[in-house]
């Protein structure tokens, strides 16, 4: 489940001890430290503070005038799952499934992850160190994973898998049903049957149960959701759909996360009461469908002020691959529309780490945490800010992307290109 060890091992081999000194340090788990020091050793954060001794032999990085934060986490992407949007052979985020309703609970999307996607480097070069990779489509899309953007294979990249089971209420056509109520019905049927299956596995193997609404592997995959080990991330925008998800989760004792949540601000009190976190974009304000009539840019700030745990996600092309980096712009716009700056930073670092159960290792700068650290020229949300250094698991990780190579090539045309 947690494939961290081999990589840390690699990190031990490559990583030096690094002392980032003099920067404005944002641990997220505590107040900012001006002129703070961050020590990275063996892929982990060894120390954070103002009066920290710098170990002998440590490589010093002067961060005076710079801002230092945890690596940014984008909690809803298809990075590595989609290379070119309209090229089918590069799309690996969906399962067709065997039944019409498209229940794909057993679909572990990271099995199709391409670690060599050229889109990883642009994301990492802009300070994104960790992303959730998510399946899409159907009623139950499958299981999501959290990965670090490190060089290596999928098993090296994985931080935790699964982190959530993805389902949706809001797009009946996507599940080949006729109404939102029917989506609920199908979800309830799946949960009922999964529960029955879990209690009667032996009977099932002897074909002594009634017919279930999902395949054996899907029923099996749902057990971790019923047991509360893996949360159910329900993609829903309409306030009444969010309320329906809350009822369903309560009924079956399922841990719930709301994703997309355009109208979540309308039911903020209920989300607080149920302690359900929400993942929303900050630039959603168009009544683009009858499910998002109440969309407004203040959503994230209103939810947070009400006491909801809020993680920010991309607005534009939803689980996105190409512009994973724009999660920082989401944070800036959330601030412009009422979220506090501290909460916005938290919403792309520690809060997603908490939602996905990895806050003991990710999302903050504290001793013992995985050393995903970014040094910025200034405010990380500001569009003019540039990334100076990115450390992933303690390893300095910026490298020219394909996009960088194109820009360099065309900045001054190579001789063979000078003729139009």
């Amino acid at each position: 489940m947690i494939a961290l060890l081999p990589l840390l091992f690699a990190a031990v081999v490559h990583a030096q001890t690094i002392a980032i000194v003099g920067g404005r340090v944002f641990p997220v788990s505590g107040p900012p430290i001006d002129g703070g020091t961050v020590i990275i050793r063996d892929g982990r954060i060894a120390a954070v503070g103002r009066d920290v001794a710098i170990p002998e032999g440590a490589q010093r990085i002067d961060a005076s005038g710079k801002w230092v934060t945890p690596g940014i986490i984008n909690p809803a992407t298809q990075l590595g799952l989609i290379e070119v949007g309209q090229v089918g052979e590069t799309r690996n985020a969906t399962a067709r499934g065997r039944d019409e309703t498209r229940v794909n609970a057993a679909f572990t999307v990271w099995d199709g992850l391409n670690p060599l996607s050229v889109l990883f480097a642009p994301a990492r070069n802009e300070g994104i160190t960790t992303v959730a990779v998510m399946p899409a489509g159907g009623l139950v899309s499958g299981q999501a994973a959290l990965v670090d953007i490190v060089d290596g294979g999928v098993s090296e990249m994985l931080v935790r898998s699964p982190i959530a089971m993805i389902a949706q209420i809001g797009n009946p056509q996507g599940a080949n049903v006729s109404s939102r109520g029917e989506l609920l019905l199908r979800l309830r049927e799946l949960l009922e049957d999964s529960r029955a299956y879990g209690r009667r596995r032996a009977d099932y193997e002897r074909a002594q149960t009634r017919e279930f609404a999902a395949s054996r592997l899907d029923l099996e995959a749902m057990q971790q959701v019923l047991a509360g080990r893996v949360p159910l991330l329900v993609v829903a925008d309409k306030a009444s759909d969010i309320e329906a998800a809350l009822r369903l989760a309560r009924e079956y004792g399922v841990r719930l996360i709301i994703g997309s949540g355009a109208e979540a601000w309308m039911v903020a009190d209920k989300l607080v009461a149920a302690k359900v976190p929400v993942m929303v974009g900050s630039m959603v304000n168009i009544p683009g469908s009858f499910a998002t009539l109440g969309a407004r840019q203040e959503n994230a700030g209103l939810l947070r002020r009400a006491g909801v745990d809020v993680a920010l996600i991309g607005t534009g092309s939803d689980p996105d691959a190409y512009n994973v980096r724009n999660i920082k712009q989401e944070a800036g716009n959330a601030v412009a529309y009422g979220m506090t700056w501290d909460d916005a930073l938290r919403a792309i670092t520690l809060t997603p780490a908490e939602i996905f159960g990895v806050a003991d290792r990710y999302g903050s700068l504290q001793p013992g945490r995985v050393a995903n650290v970014v040094i910025w020229s200034g405010d990380p949300f500001e569009l003019s800010t540039r990334v100076e250094h990115v450390f992933v698991r303690g390893v300095r990780s910026m490298s020219p992307s394909r996009q960088d190579e194109l820009m360099t090539r065309y900045k001054t045309l190579p001789p063979s290109y000078r003729n139009p």
Partner: protein
């Protein structure tokens, strides 16, 4: 998040092709009036140049003289004016400088810590033709029934009650070109709108603005028409050329008849009429074209038939042929960071805007997106930053032109809008701070000197008919 993701990109790809060809040269010295300057209205049987069968009924709303003082002004006409002042009167910019004389009846606004810019102009929008909510019944942007639909006019699809309009206004947009989609080689006529509430599209039309023609290269047409053709890029090119051959014959036939009026007039044809107007220089060509090599071919086609391309839209590879764009005075209407949603968008780079700028061509920040249009200032800021990362320094005083003067030029309106100069239309945005900051929002927007948006007063906010009851007041 999952819901829209993939769909969005697919729709976008289809929706977002705008092309325009134009032969208009640099703008005229005389400043045309913004009311009533129409070409002759043809009777229904006559294919008359500059005909205006759906004339604008826009009238500048009543306004009081307004002074904004103690404010940083990005003029798009020269260096910024720190602690400057501007006077809007009778719909025009009446004075601008370190200080201005405030008339006795003027509204005076203190702009301390704030910025003033010209109204933002988007060369590429589908507001109104792909209105929200995005249901099938509101899908009016692509007449995808024939690869050449030069006969359709985007304005006949525009729904003035699209809730996307007031949101664009709140992002500082004062003028937008609404284009047909990119399913077709030649998609039809665009229309230039002022972002104002109105019952009819005529009430939004920018008086005297030239029409645009939308053309589209590459993947979209060949995908949409794969079964009947064109199904290849070479089929696309044959399609454009065949259309222009017919259009040129039509133009000659009609110009001859219009000159001598001998005998019965030739048969009128809406599609060829639009194309003939391009050949006469009366309609500007806006050409959706992603790839550099295709842009070079479209330039050759334009030369073959004697028209000019005013702007390449979505030119994610504009940076590869920026020298050609500069040479032929073609602007690049581009995104800051969209890419890889299809093969022809694969080579998108964030320094596209900066590289085009560096080559001396006009960079235009465009949206093609009802969300992006609300934050074009942020997209320009990304473009500046990407340039800086590549060692290309572009000042904010220059980059403001990407949002104002260059799109105005692309629409043939740079004599009236797009910069802050005395005599130009008083389309003005007051920003809460530096418009290139992620935290800055448009606070107030004026069009023709009338305040159309004030963020501090949600009760006065423009709510479209659709929103009444469905969208609660202040919920945006």
């Amino acid at each position: 998040m999952t819901r829209i993701a993939l769909l969005t990109l697919v729709t976008t790809a289809l929706a977002c092709a705008s092309s325009g060809a134009t032969s208009g040269g640099p703008s005229q010295a005389a400043v045309p009036a913004d009311t009533g300057a129409r070409g002759p209205t043809g009777d229904g049987g006559i294919s008359a140049p500059l005909a205006d069968p759906f004339p604008s009924t826009y009238q500048a709303p009543p306004s009081r003289p307004t002074v904004i003082r103690n404010v940083t002004i990005l003029t798009a006409a020269g260096p910024r004016i720190e602690n400057g002042a501007i006077l809007l009167r009778d719909g025009k910019i009446a004075a601008v400088g370190a200080s201005v004389e405030a008339p006795a009846d003027a509204i005076v606004i203190d702009g301390a810590g704030k910025f003033v810019t010209p109204g933002i102009i988007d060369t590429h929008s589908h507001m109104g033709v792909y209105a929200a909510p995005g249901v099938e019944a509101n899908s009016d942007g692509n007449e995808a029934t024939n690869p050449v639909t030069a006969h359709v006019w985007a304005e006949h699809s525009v729904w003035p009650q699209d809730p996307q309009f007031p949101r664009a206004l709140a992002g500082g947009i004062t003028t937008a070109q609404i284009l047909p989609g990119s399913a077709n080689l030649i998609g039809g006529r665009s229309v230039v709108l002022k972002i104002v509430p109105a019952r009819t599209v005529q009430g939004m039309k920018f008086p005297g603005a030239k029409y645009g023609l939308k053309m589209a290269c590459g993947e979209n047409p060949k995908r949409v028409y794969a079964s009947r053709g064109p199904s290849t890029r070479m089929g696309n090119v044959a399609g454009y050329r065949n259309a222009w051959i017919q259009a040129e014959a039509y133009r000659r036939r009609w110009d001859k008849w219009l000159a001598d009026k001998k005998g019965d007039p030739p048969q009128r044809d809406l599609g060829n009429e639009t194309l003939a107007e391009v050949l006469r220089g009366n309609i500007l060509v806006h050409n959706h074209c992603y790839r550099a090599d295709e842009m070079a071919q479209m330039i050759d086609i334009a030369k073959e038939f004697g028209y000019k391309i005013r702007s390449f839209h979505h030119g994610v590879e504009a940076y590869k042929v920026a020298d050609l764009l500069a040479r032929d005075s073609i602007s690049a209407s581009i995104w800051a960071d969209w890419g890889a949603f299809k093969m022809e968008a694969l080579d998108a780079v964030k320094a596209n805007m900066a590289l085009v700028h560096q080559a001396g061509a006009r960079t235009v920040v465009h949206s093609d997106d009802p969300s992006g249009i609300q934050r074009l200032n942020q997209e320009a800021a990304k473009g500046i930053a990407a340039g800086a990362a590549l060692g290309i320094t572009i000042s904010e005083d220059e980059a403001i032109k990407w949002l104002t003067l260059h799109p105005a030029w692309s629409l043939g309106l740079d004599d009236r809008i797009g910069s802050i100069a005395v005599g130009k239309n008083a389309d003005i945005v007051l920003w809460s701070g530096n418009p290139f900051s992620v935290y800055t929002r448009a606070e107030r927007v004026w069009i023709d000197g009338a305040q159309m948006f004030d963020r501090s007063d949600p009760n006065e906010a423009w709510r479209t008919d659709f929103e009444l009851g469905f969208v609660r007041r202040g919920d945006r």
